[in-house]
């Protein structure tokens, strides 16, 4: 079994494969294997973090299965098909974002949900895929590197949904959607001069805005956001506790089911946004290195698929999807270890709950589809 799977993988890598189950199902072996590994690892950690609650495990299992189904379905679309539908997906997504602001339901102080009678869902979730698709669609027939006009239009494509999502307000998703657009621009070959110029402009504008554009309490809020530990009575408490959990894990970890911080209830949100700390406490630095390596492999494989892709649309879409996944991992791990501000993003495939599993997996499905569908012949 194992051997045959390996054979499949090498066959895919050679790019000369027409037979094989995986190929016919439009799936990519290495990516599939590493995603399954991450999902299983997630269930293992969740079992411990959730105090061995089997219900939680079942619910998460169902969610993951839905995610894998979404992946398989998405993999069946050829890039031609995706490209044809892209503008509609994007415009529909933006329309739904507007609808959310107008009639959406409020949950936890933010307006994110749209109730369509049967299902309730967050349109902002769709934008995590729709924005990279739209960017890829837009760049598809433009000469690259993009000219100024194209850069401006591409920026508008990204900024409109980002502003709509910020209005909900949902900082984490806005960050993801915004960075997906940014990555698409970067991958399309945005010139270094413009990137440096924008960076320089930001460096100049920020202190001016800080001094003249903000009130005292707003400045304070930004400071607390950038340095959560300065507010230990609020969100800083989580960071203090998660650092204790991570630090006390040491090199080898305390062992599965032996984490004390999470089990004694010191660590808030231990199954969701802060599950990374539980993993770190129980599996230590060694476990973390393996986890990060697994994530790195998923990202690298996705970027490799992007490079192999036959046209601009597929390349930009695949590359952006790969890098969004990276943002998930980096922002979550950075937040939990006290390196980055507190932005509510889950650790992908491992955190409990979240509608994001489905979109993440659908994204990987698209990647696989790009890699496995017959492409126009070379020369």
């Amino acid at each position: 079994m194992k051997l045959s799977l390996l054979a499949e993988i090498s066959a895919v890598d050679d790019g000369r494969l027409d037979r094989g189950v995986l190929r016919r199902a439009h799936l990519d072996g290495p990516l599939l294997l590493s995603l399954v590994a991450a999902a299983l690892l997630g269930l293992v950690v969740l079992y411990s973090a959730g105090r061995q609650n089997p219900d939680m495990l079942v619910r998460q299992g169902i969610r993951l299965s839905l995610g894998f189904i979404a992946m398989v379905v998405a993999a069946q679309f050829s890039s031609h098909f995706l490209r044809r539908w892209t503008p509609w997906v994007y415009l529909g997504g933006v329309a739904m974002l507007v609808a959310v602001l107008l009639v959406g339901e409020v949950g936890k102080g933010a307006q994110r949900w749209l109730d369509l009678g049967v299902v309730r869902f967050q349109p902002s979730e769709i934008m995590k895929i729709a924005v990279p698709m739209m960017m890829a669609w837009y760049f598809a027939d433009k000469p690259l590197p993009p000219h100024l006009r194209a850069i401006v239009i591409a920026s508008i494509i990204t900024v409109v949904p980002v502003l709509l999502i910020l209005k909900q307000p949902d900082l984490g998703t806005a960050l993801l959607v915004g960075s997906s657009g940014g990555f698409a621009l970067f991958l399309a070959g945005l010139s270094w001069r413009i990137m440096l110029g924008l960076g320089g402009l930001g460096l100049v504008a920020a202190p001016v805005f800080w001094t003249f554009g903000m009130r005292d309490y707003q400045r304070q809020r930004v400071l607390t956001f950038l340095d959560p530990e300065s507010d230990p009575l609020g969100s800083g408490w989580n960071i203090i506790q998660s650092k204790i959990a991570i630090g006390s894990g040491g090199v080898y970890g305390k062992g599965w089911l032996n984490g004390t911080q999470s089990h004694l209830d010191f660590l808030p949100e231990g199954t969701t946004d802060f599950i990374f700390a539980v993993f770190a406490e129980e599996f230590g630095l060694i476990g973390l290195c393996m986890l990060l390596a697994l994530y790195f492999f998923i990202i690298s494989r996705s970027l490799y698929i992007a490079v192999q892709a036959p046209n601009t649309f597929s390349r930009v879409l695949a590359g952006s999807l790969a890098l969004i996944f990276f943002v998930y991992v980096f922002v979550n791990a950075g937040m939990v270890s006290g390196l980055l501000p507190v932005v509510g993003l889950p650790l992908p495939l491992i955190s409990y709950g979240g509608t994001s599993i489905v979109t993440i997996m659908a994204g990987f499905g698209m990647l696989m589809g790009i890699h496995t569908h017959p492409r126009p012949l070379s020369h």
């Binding site: 959990a245 973390l288 601009t312 390349r315």
Partner: protein
């Protein structure tokens, strides 16, 4: 990395893309991106090594004892002073009893045992339970406030019997002037459920009280300060062993109000037993020198929970002492807006000061039998603007308002801040009501009638103003249109610092002026109200040491039938007219503007004007040091 050449896309592209170069560009970018990813991952790894290897010992200790607690250090609330440094709100030290539920073995037994030492009411327990539901189990929850010395002693001796019990030093708000200026200062009270929804809970995690009304509320953010905190290590009983880390709180700022307490008291006394309000503004900068709402109450009652009996007495009193009339009372302005209507007429060019209108004692609309009566049934004869003001002739202004039309009248008075909030730095200000056609269509879905324009000319009908608006508009008139937003904040001061930072006047767009002579004409008419031989407030002006420009007003509470007479002697007091008076002084160099409303006071000239005179005298002749000094040299020379 294998690069593929891709065939050119469909031929409709004018320019064939150099797909080879593009693929190469993308590969370079993808490679850079993966480098970036690797770098970020290594950075994360470094952070994890720092936490898990370098600081492992430190965190292990913290995790093992896991007695790391975070304690809020509440800031000291800023004090409130008047403009001369008289203390209006103080912090007195007191003690409260706190219980940490996590360390209690049996709450009911403990409470019963405690009840033998100190008094614990049912209310205390209810509040305690509510509070403890909202806090983590390791956080102390107050059970009793304001322990007496004896109770503190009793508890201190027995403290060892009750783990998780603590006596905490505390500061309690105290208002040394008691009822004086109560509506302005407001009071603090315990944070309630509704407030918990809106405040930053970490900022208030150490605080038990919050500003509820008045300046205590509107300057809450400034007075409260910023919470500090300490990370402490505790033993199993929750007693602090050592402080790991500490950030001190930033105390709230002291604030100085524009109020002059001496003037405030005199104004309160001058109101005698009338309900109503007085607002005194310095027209040169918008500083509110006094703001009285009668009757007054003692805010100290509210600080630590008012008893049901006291609250009912205040809340159900027909005199409504808790209601800030100066800010929220909406009264028909009556004749006190006539001078503004007159000014509007001049500035719009509808009439001149020399044009006379005949007043037969009533006014009739064309083709109508209805008589709008003048207060003087015999009529005023031929009336020019100045006489119309000092005699308060109704017919003159009926006629003028009709010529002007309600929308122009509205537009002009609106510039003086009537019908909208002045923007004073207190919460809950009422807008009053300055009607026009559009308003009536929207709110009542009815057309505007001409008769309504007629009575609007004498401040009756739909029109409503707050005492603050009247004082403000009078100040604007005194300044020939120059506007300052009324304010109570005089200066601020960081606690522990000697530096008092004065607040600057907040200028607003001025009322546009067509001709200064028009304004002077109107002001002259107002001077004659007080100093003229036939002015409505001539008795008040009889022996004035300076010139006052004023206007009396009487607002109907009880409307009369077409042929009925107003007979004060045979009406119960609560149906008597409201007495109003607005004024500024000295007329040629205004230093003070005032509005007085005495509810059911009868007449503006008989009741409100003398009250205003007492306040003006006190300020100009005694309290305002600059003016009283120059005034004395003048009269001496």
């Amino acid at each position: 990395m294998a690069l593929r050449k891709v065939a050119g896309r469909r031929g409709d592209l004018a320019k064939v893309k150099d797909s080879m170069a593009e693929a190469q560009l993308f590969s370079r970018r993808a490679l850079m991106a993966s480098m970036l990813v690797l770098l970020a991952m290594l950075g994360l790894g470094a952070r994890l090594v720092f936490l898990q290897v370098h600081n492992h010992q430190h965190y292990t200790t913290l995790a093992d004892s896991n007695r790391v607690r975070i304690q809020p250090l509440p800031p000291t609330r800023g004090l409130i002073f008047d403009r001369n440094g008289v203390l209006l709100a103080d912090n007195l030290s007191s003690h409260r009893l706190e219980v940490t539920p996590e360390q209690m073995e049996d709450m009911d037994v403990t409470l019963a045992a405690l009840g033998e030492l100190v008094e614990i009411t049912e209310q205390d327990i209810q509040r305690f339970e509510k509070l403890s539901n909202r806090k983590p189990p390791y956080a102390g929850v107050p059970l009793r406030f304001q322990l007496t010395e004896q109770e503190v002693a009793q508890l201190a001796v027995n403290l060892h019997r009750f783990p998780g019990l603590e006596i905490k030093a505390d500061l309690t708000r105290y208002y040394p002037l008691h009822e004086h200026a109560a509506h302005v200062i407001g009071y603090v009270g315990r944070i309630n459920e509704r407030e918990l929804q809106t405040i930053d809970t970490s900022q208030y995690s150490g605080s038990t009280h919050i500003g509820k009304t008045g300046v205590e509320k509107s300057y809450e953010a400034m007075l409260h300060g910023r919470v500090g905190h300490q990370q402490v290590e505790t033993n199993a009983q929750g007693r602090v062993l050592r402080v790991l880390e500490s950030t001190p709180p930033v105390p709230g700022k002291n604030i100085y109000l524009t109020i002059d307490t001496r003037l405030q008291r005199i104004a309160e006394q001058a109101m005698a037993d009338y309900n109503g309000a007085i607002v005194v503004i310095d027209p040169r900068n918008g500083e509110i020198l006094a703001m009285v709402s009668m009757p007054i109450y003692d805010p100290n009652l509210f600080v630590n929970g008012i008893s049901h009996k006291d609250f009912d007495a205040l809340n159900q009193s027909p005199h409504r002492p808790l209601y800030n009339r100066a800010l929220r009372g909406a009264y028909p302005p009556g004749s006190t807006i006539k001078q503004l209507v007159g000014l509007a007429g001049l500035e719009y060019g509808i009439m001149t000061p020399h044009q006379a209108t005949y007043c037969p004692g009533f006014f009739r609309l064309p083709n109508s039998q209805h008589r709008f009566r003048d207060w003087n049934r015999g009529g005023h004869g031929w009336v020019k603007l100045d006489k119309a003001i000092y005699q308060s002739c109704d017919v003159y202004f009926y006629d003028l308002a009709l010529k002007m039309g309600i929308d122009r009248l509205h537009a002009y008075l609106d510039q003086f801040g009537l019908g909208r909030r002045t923007g004073v730095d207190l919460d809950g200000e009422k807008t009053g009501l300055l009607p026009n056609k559009e308003w009536k269509r929207e709110v009542h879905d009815q057309p505007w009638y001409m008769g309504e324009t007629v009575i609007a000319g004498i401040g009756q009908g739909y029109m409503l103003t707050t005492p603050l608006q009247l004082a403000h508009s009078t100040a604007v008139l005194a300044q020939h249109g120059q506007q300052f937003r009324p304010r109570l904040l005089y200066a601020t001061q960081q606690q522990g610092s000697d530096r008092v930072i004065p607040e600057l006047p907040r200028g607003e767009p001025p009322v546009p002026m067509v001709s200064r002579a028009n304004w002077d004409q109107v002001i002259r008419g107002m001077e004659l109200v007080v100093h003229g031989r036939r002015g409505t407030a001539r008795r008040t002006g009889k022996d004035a040491a300076y010139r006052i420009a004023g206007k009396t007003g009487t607002a109907q509470v009880f409307s009369l039938g077409q042929d009925e007479e107003y007979d004060a002697d045979n009406l119960p007091r609560h149906l008597h007219d409201h007495a109003l008076f607005v004024a500024f002084a000295p007329a040629s160099d205004p230093r003070i503007a005032i509005a007085v409303i005495a509810e059911h006071g009868g007449g503006g000239s008989s009741t409100a004007a003398p009250i205003a005179k007492q306040v003006l005298d006190a300020y100009l002749l005694e309290l305002d040091p600059l003016y009283s000094a120059t005034h004395e040299t003048q009269s001496a020379g």
